[in-house]
């Protein structure tokens, strides 16, 4: 599969990972910033409670969509611009605007897919975790954006991959050999915590099966 969304040299490249599977942070922001963050894999499958009252009042499908976007993409971040003194992946002002918009669009598509396909990973944040709540809000924004979407018929699956690491497409037996990539979003940064390998070349591919 090609790389249709190669955004060229953003000063990131492979050296961002220093040859390892981590994203380096600014001095003083690395280990301290990560301290206290739960390993997503140790989170209970069901969140403790809705984060806000607004969530609790949301209609059930909207909440499912938000939990899907969060559950499937919580570890994904946009490409960075690495402004001096602001090169943390968690610093929104360091996010490449185009890549951030791309990620939100992909999340909106994912929310749209959830209306057609419920075999997805749903999850929610720990109410006391500020970083997770930030991503939860991004998921809510993506669900709102999806309200105006009209996904083509037959687009009801997506696959998240790290370019060049592991499988680049699902096993053809998963959705049938007629399933083809319809649209690909990325690359994004994957900090890990789930099944997709960590790295800076993460893509979300949406598949279509002709109805």
């Amino acid at each position: 599969m090609g790389n249709p969304h190669d955004t060229g040299d953003l000063g990131i490249g492979d050296d961002l990972l220093d040859g390892a599977d981590h994203v380096p942070f600014a001095p003083g922001l690395g280990p301290d910033l990560l301290a206290g963050l739960p390993d997503p894999n140790t989170l209970p499958a069901t969140p403790q409670a809705a984060v806000t009252g607004k969530d609790a009042r949301a209609d059930p499908m909207t909440l499912h969509q938000q939990r899907t976007v969060y559950g499937e993409t919580a570890g994904l971040y946009p490409q960075l611009v690495n402004q001096p003194g602001k090169n943390s992946v968690y610093n929104r002002s360091n996010w490449n605007p185009g890549s951030a918009a791309d990620l939100q669009t992909a999340r909106a598509w994912m929310a749209g897919v959830r209306l057609r396909n419920h075999i997805v990973k749903e999850s929610g944040p720990h109410p006391s975790n500020g970083l997770e709540k930030m991503v939860w809000q991004d998921a809510a924004n993506a669900v709102q954006a999806s309200k105006g979407l009209q996904l083509p018929a037959g687009v009801k699956n997506f696959f998240i991959r790290q370019d060049g690491v592991g499988a680049q497409a699902p096993d053809p037996k998963l959705w049938g050999k007629d399933a083809k990539v319809y649209k690909s979003f990325g690359p994004f940064i994957n900090l890990g915590g789930g099944d997709v390998p960590k790295g800076t070349k993460t893509y979300i591919d949406f598949y279509k099966v002709e109805p």
């Binding site: 140790t42 999850s123 499988a167």
Partner: protein, 200 residues
């Protein structure tokens, strides 16, 4: 067809009859051959001929597939591990064949007991996805193609249940194809329980 050379014609006839074709029905020997290779493929083959052959010889095939079942050691593996767990995949494919031919899944254990094990959240989530209460032998996270496998005591209980089912109902069961749909994914191991209402 004009016979130019009797011996050549005979040789071509023998060769043609040994090649699998769409028109040639699959044999019991074909079933055995497919079962032997399941999961040990070096490249991904098209499963359709194999599954069609299984359905054609349903009762015999189900018995053979159940004989292939045994607890596996794996717990979870992702796309970077593809091809490294072929012995486990052989067992999973035996189950996939049973799901495809029967349209049913057999689970064991309970959600409450599984949660006491405090497994990684993704593994717990997917093993309970299809029924919400009982535990799957395996399940796949579709968007990442990661595979999750149940604890071995659950696996053993499921295998015993399949053996009991076959002894009681397997001979007379109406086997037919159950291709992928919204509630039945034989490949993903997600066959939702009748009466279970999945999320909308």
């Amino acid at each position: 067809m004009k016979i130019v050379n009797g011996r050549w014609f005979a040789a071509l006839t023998v060769l043609a009859s040994s090649l699998p074709t769409a028109a040639r029905a699959c044999s019991e020997a074909d079933v055995a051959g497919y079962i032997k290779q399941m999961g040990y493929w070096k490249t991904v083959p098209d499963p359709d001929p194999m599954l069609a052959c299984f359905v054609e010889h349903g009762a015999m095939t189900a018995g053979l597939l159940i004989k292939e079942l045994h607890p596996v050691n794996g717990t979870a593996y992702g796309t970077v591990d593809q091809g490294k767990h072929q012995a486990d995949e052989h067992v999973l494919w035996a189950l996939r064949g049973l799901y495809y031919m029967t349209g049913q899944d057999i689970r064991a254990g309970s959600a409450s007991e599984l949660r006491k094990l405090k497994l990684p959240s993704d593994r717990e989530y997917w093993l309970l996805f299809a029924s919400g209460d009982k535990v799957n032998f395996f399940a796949i996270h579709p968007s990442t193609d990661a595979t999750y496998i149940a604890p071995q005591d659950v696996q053993a209980a499921i295998i015993e249940a399949w053996r009991s089912w076959y002894a009681k109902d397997g001979g007379a069961f109406s086997y037919k194809a159950h291709p992928y749909d919204d509630t039945h994914s034989w490949y993903e191991g997600i066959i939702e329980s009748p009466g279970y209402t999945p999320p909308p």
